[in-house]
């Protein structure tokens, strides 16, 4: 068979995904639950975790999405078993992509849900148990170096209703100095639409 679109690792995890939740959620009681994405944008991800001694003891997931999205969730689920919550909380999409042996550039956006679903599950676990939040510890990417605007600032602005470059500039002053970050910002807006879009 000729060369496949993706790496052998992606193919393996796509065809034989690990830790899939086989039945409905009730059959697998969990300590934390996270769900992100929406079907309208073509992908959605659910992650359930069990926690013991501050570590992820076990995980199950379901994903509606393309081959890269399925493979990313599968490999993430393998990677986080036994991981301390603090470490799991700061996983980045790039870490997952690296484990997959890379993805084509136009497929990177299909792998951005996993770490967010995981953080949502950890947040859920911590709040259920009255434990201190880890919010703020996740890695942030500085998008606009001139005015020090991060991806999290953009995410908050999106949640507050910003949908365009102009909206974001009005709120965060992003790119009002050199403007070199516009392309990356628009990419982020796309991803956020994926995550939260209607």
């Amino acid at each position: 068979m000729s060369e496949w679109l993706y790496s052998d690792v992606v193919k393996d995890h796509f065809m034989n995904p690990r830790n899939v939740l086989e039945d409905d959620e009730a059959t697998w009681p969990s300590d934390g639950r996270g769900i992100v994405g929406n079907i309208k944008c073509g992908d959605q991800m659910l992650i359930l975790i069990r926690v013991a001694d501050g570590k992820i003891a076990d995980v199950r997931w379901k994903t509606y999405g393309c081959a890269s999205a399925l493979a990313s969730t599968s490999i993430l689920s393998e990677a986080i078993k036994g991981m301390r919550l603090e470490d799991a909380y700061i996983l980045k999409p790039e870490d997952i992509v690296a484990k997959l042996g890379g993805l084509p550039a136009n497929k990177i956006h299909c792998s951005v849900l996993g770490d967010k679903a995981l953080r949502a599950a950890i947040d859920d676990y911590l709040s259920r148990n009255g434990l201190p939040s880890l919010k703020g510890l996740e890695n942030v990417e500085i998008i606009c170096n001139c005015l020090n605007v991060t991806d999290r600032d953009i995410e908050e602005a999106y949640k507050a209703g910003d949908r365009s470059w102009e909206d974001l500039q009005a709120r965060t002053k992003i790119g009002t100095a050199c403007g070199g970050c516009k392309e990356r910002t628009l990419e982020l807006l796309h991803q956020l639409e994926h995550l939260y879009g209607e």
């Binding site: 068979m1 496949w4 679109l5 193919k11 796509f14 065809m15 995904p17 899939v20 086989e22 769900i35 079907i39 309208k40 944008c41 073509g42 992908d43 959605q44 991800m45 659910l46 379901k62 994903t63 509606y64 999405g65 393309c66 081959a67 890269s68 999205a69 399925l70 136009n106 497929k107 956006h109 299909c110 796309h190 639409e193 994926h194």
Partner: protein, 408 residues
């Protein structure tokens, strides 16, 4: 896996061995079809015969066929002609079309029509994209309203200059009533074009009974080589060269004749014309058996496109709960080639504009697969799909956060 099952004939077709033979033979006829010497005259004669075959396939006169590099060029040529008409100083064209700056097309056209229409929009034309119903048929009430708008307002710019509606859709296979659309366009004084790339060779296409001014064809959809197509231009209809230079095609399409491909196109057209009835009786039963088999074995699916006015070879299905790119790639691993309307396969974040226009919603568009068959498809191919596709859908739905029932 050694043998692959090809179910993507609407994307392109394998070359017919009889066409390949002609193509290879003609590669050795190296002379320039425009040359006066005997070698050149021989090539010119072959090109003329090809033109006759292509003309016969759509019941045109050979003089009404322009050879181009393919469907996209043909479509571009028509839209480009409109910019020239709008600027023309030729008195009879001015009398017929002067001041008209309105183009009507549909919401489900091929990108080469969509992009050409958008360009005209950017040049100041008013462009209207006719909506379609759930089966993909254009909205006739809206069409009549748009055609009459200029008369009503007295604003000549609102009068239609061109109507361009595809004959059969590449994705869902829906066939439009082109004869009616063309008649109404002409009553409103507009020119009428149809992109018939997916219709030619699959269903009867007769430019006389359709009454169209321009019709687009492509060779590689009818078992011939890629890179060659044609535009039918009814005698007396204005047309502007898209590629300028030599006197080929009456000065309307410059560039040394691509004679091997053109001659092969002629052979493909001849075979398609002779085999039209056989094509229908071969493909439609396969398509319908696949459709009925899916309905019987896979819960909660939707068959897209018109139930009857549909190409005999095209079956577009939405499998809610499973995502199209994932279905495509799983079938690919099983040796089956199909295509999808999912955003994830297109490089954009938007799913198929055709399915979205039919109003099925993003969930069903993301989970759509097009099975398009052809003259080499077999009962065994259908058997294999009926065995494998239900398992693939079941597997992907098992991974999915989405319950299939929510979306049908």
């Amino acid at each position: 896996m050694s043998k692959r099952i090809y179910m993507d004939y609407n994307a392109t077709t394998p070359i017919d061995p009889r066409v390949r033979e002609v193509l290879i033979r003609e590669l050795d006829s190296y002379a320039n079809g425009s040359s006066m010497h005997e070698d050149g005259r021989r090539v010119a004669k072959d090109i003329f015969a090809a033109r006759e075959h292509v003309a016969a396939l759509v019941n045109a006169n050979p003089g009404e066929i322009l050879f181009t590099s393919g469907g996209s060029e043909s479509n571009n040529m028509v839209f480009n002609t409109m910019t020239s008409i709008a600027l023309t100083r030729t008195s009879h064209l001015k009398a017929l079309y002067g001041g008209r700056k309105t183009i009507i097309t549909s919401a489900i056209e091929h990108p080469c029509v969509m992009e050409s229409a958008k360009r005209l929009e950017s040049l100041g034309f008013g462009v209207h994209y006719l909506p379609v119903d759930g089966n993909g048929i254009v909205d006739m009430d809206r069409y009549r309203e748009l055609l009459g708008r200029g008369d009503l307002s007295g604003n000549v710019a609102e009068k239609p200059l061109l109507v361009s509606v595809m004959m059969a859709n590449n994705e869902i296979g829906t066939i439009q009533d082109i004869a009616l659309l063309a008649r109404l366009a002409h009553e409103a004084g507009a020119l009428f074009h149809t992109d018939a790339v997916q219709a030619v060779g699959k269903i009867p296409v007769d430019v006389a009974s359709l009454g169209v001014d321009y019709l687009t064809m492509s060779c590689h959809k009818i078992y011939g080589p890629k890179g060659v197509g044609a535009l039918y231009v009814k005698k007396g209809t204005p047309v502007e060269p898209f590629i300028r230079g030599g006197h080929q095609e009456g000065g309307l399409r410059a560039g040394t004749y691509n004679s091997p491909s053109i001659v092969a196109f002629g052979e493909a057209a001849r075979l398609a014309n002779a085999g039209l009835a056989a094509y229908e009786s071969h493909t439609r039963p396969l398509r319908n058996r696949l459709r009925d088999g899916f309905i019987a074995s896979i819960p909660d699916i939707r068959i897209n496109g018109h139930p009857e006015q549909v190409l005999p070879n095209t079956l577009d299905v939405s499998f809610p709960g499973a995502e199209g790119e994932a279905i495509l790639l799983m079938l690919d691993i099983l040796g089956v080639s199909v295509s999808t309307g999912s955003a994830c396969a297109s490089g954009s974040l938007e799913p198929s504009h055709v399915l979205m226009a039919t109003g099925v919603g993003p969930e069903l568009a993301h989970g759509s697969i097009r099975f398009s068959m052809g003259q080499y498809s077999t009962d065994e191919d259908v058997d294999y799909l009926l065995k494998e596709v239900p398992q693939v859908i079941k597997k992907l739905r098992g991974f999915s956060t989405v319950s299939s029932k929510e979306h049908v």
